[in-house]
Amino acid sequence: MLKRILALVKKEFIHLRNDWWLPAFMLFGGVLELMLVGWATSRPINNLPLMVLDHDRSAASRSLVISLENTETFELEAMVGDFQTIEEALERGQITAAIIIPPDFAEEMAASNGSPSLSMILNGAESVPAIAALRATEGVIASLNEKIIIQRLGLSSDEFSGFAPRLRVWFNEALSEALYTTPAEMGLMLEFTTLLFAALAFSREKELGTLEQLLVMPFSSLEIIIGKSIPVIIVAFTDFVLMLSMIHLFFKVPIRGSLPLLFLLAFVYLLVELGKGMVLSVISKTQMQAFLLVMLFGMSDFMFTGYAAPVESMPKALQFFANIVPAHHWLEIIRGILLKGAGMDVLWPHVLALVILGTIIMTFSLSFVRRALD
């Protein structure tokens, strides 16, 4: 039995060597993707293009614009003379935000009972920069408000002491997006790599017409499954180690928890995805079909991982689904171990969920694939 499995594994590795682009894609595609994601998200969002339509043209309005620029969130694209220019720029996606200062802005600011106002238009089509723009503007307006209050109360700024919050962010002090995105992205890349590779295991031989021959040879279905799984496990695990080293070295993602625990759980997770991939593989007739199924499953898993939108804010029914998606628990485990230094005492609900789901998926997959092969 061992000899036959070994023969199969050897054959699979010869395929991999001959089709070198496939393992190269498996190993370095993920690393490259992580590099780009990490790079693009390693800095806070700034230099968002802003347009200003200033009807007031006063010292007060100029000072407002300068305050906005000083946040570094904005970069002044242009001072414009009419609203139409703003409308066109927004439609083209040229700017993230536009501020319209009314003609009585300075006057209302100075009057003891004035109510100064201003309008802001955000490009909601891109919600992440729009939210950053909103926050920055709110900050500027808050300090402007403070100034007006001090002025109206007739106090000097030394005398005034308002509410001064002390904010501390745990686990990611600099609120670097890369610390959030790269571990999640790594977890997802491991899913895609394993699923895709496993899905090609049988669909490839079916497409080439060699599966029949394999089935006529004295391999038991279990031997075929094991022989096909070993290369997937080796390549996917190597991929994981490569990706982890990359985000640790390049993006300074810490490994605060136990590395052996992370490796062990990565292995468990890998087996779960392997099981899913094998099922997709035996129900597909061609490699293209297998590939499309992987995209479908991978994409829907992605929605439930909590990476794109927090699971807590999903509708109840979707929250239930998220809990039966192994990738969701896997991402919680990665983040927990890497960023929070969490151990089994904290992570056990996710580990337990992963193990239970894994057992169900593996049992189903094994009996399904064996039945398909026999």
Partner: protein, 310 residues
């Protein structure tokens, strides 16, 4: 010794469609058994059932004296298979393919080495061990596939249209290999739709729409299936000859069974054909067709099958 293969009322249905309809036959050991039929007639389905890849809907199959059902592990070691689609790994070299098969069948190192030598010699691929299989031409690949499929020295080998798409010279070379195998006592079960290949089989079964419509040696099938003899006519215009003779047949002027174009010749089939030669000549003369030659010949299997397909 028991026959190599026995099927009893072997049936396979896919939903409402009956692919194989209760067929019965025996294939004797040490012979080439030809399984003939047009595409979609149930040939591949039957082979898949005999290999244990597909469970029959009804009926049973015995191979090498034991039931296929429940004895797959034993039969896998004693039976070989070469599929319709090319069954080797294209990106592996000749040597790698042979090694993989040998290891799969659990051959030890010494045996494997010797048998790989034999296989290379048989396929005529000595010195090309390191060539990628996809770089070989069709004929070489078929011979390599055959010598690979018999690496574990099976007693019975199934070949599903092994020579489809291969040139005539390579086909001849392939059949020479089959005769060698049979000389060594191996039973060969081969499907084909080449009639010249069918003539080379010891025994034949002709399957059509899931039913066996003819059984026996090529000579016996010709005797029993053919109602009449074949007259081969060579004329100045073969196509016109067919038209004229068919028109005459339809009009009831002459009782002919078949009028078929056969390359540049025309084959006419009828009982007691000698007595009709004069009539045929008269008809052709009237239509201003010059007859060059006319002879009663032995029917080929192709004549028989075209006649029996109608």
């Amino acid at each position: 010794m028991t026959p190599a293969i026995i099927t009893k009322d072997l049936t396979k249905k896919f939903g409402d469609f009956t692919a194989v309809n209760g067929i019965n036959f025996e294939a004797a050991r040490g012979e080439i058994f030809g399984f003939l039929g047009p595409n979609g007639s149930g040939k591949t389905t039957t082979i898949r059932m005999m290999l244990g890849l597909l469970p029959p809907t009804a009926g049973e199959i015995q191979a090498l004296g034991i039931s296929v059902k429940g004895n797959q592990a034993e039969l896998q070691q004693r039976v070989g298979y070469m599929s319709q689609r090319f069954s080797l790994y294209n990106d592996l070299t000749v040597q790698q393919n042979l090694q993989f098969y040998g290891a799969a069948y659990g051959l030890n190192k010494v045996d494997l080495k010797n048998r790989i030598q034999d296989a290379l010699a048989m396929a005529g691929l000595e010195g090309r061990e390191n060539a990628k299989t996809k770089d070989l031409s069709g004929g070489w690949r078929q011979r390599l596939a055959l010598s690979t499929a018999i690496l574990h020295r099976p007693e019975l080998i199934f070949l599903d249209e092994p020579t489809a798409g291969v040139d005539p010279i390579s086909r001849r070379a392939f059949w020479d290999l089959l005769y060698q195998l049979v000389a060594d006592g191996v039973t060969v079960f081969v499907t084909t739709h080449y009639m010249d290949e069918a003539e080379h089989c010891h025994d034949l079964a002709f399957i059509q729409r899931g039913n066996i419509i003819a059984r026996g040696s090529p000579a016996r099938i010709k005797e029993t299936m053919m109602d009449g003899q074949v007259l081969e006519i060579s004329t100045s215009d073969a196509i016109k000859t067919v038209k004229v003779l068919r028109a005459a047949q339809k009009a009831g002027k002459i009782p002919l069974k078949e009028v078929e174009l056969y390359g540049s010749l025309v084959h006419v089939v009828a009982p007691n054909i000698e007595k009709k030669i004069n009539d045929i000549q008269a008809i052709l003369k009237k239509a201003e067709i010059r007859t060059e030659q006319m002879a009663v010949i032995e029917a080929s299997l192709e004549d028989v099958f075209i006649a029996s397909m109608k």
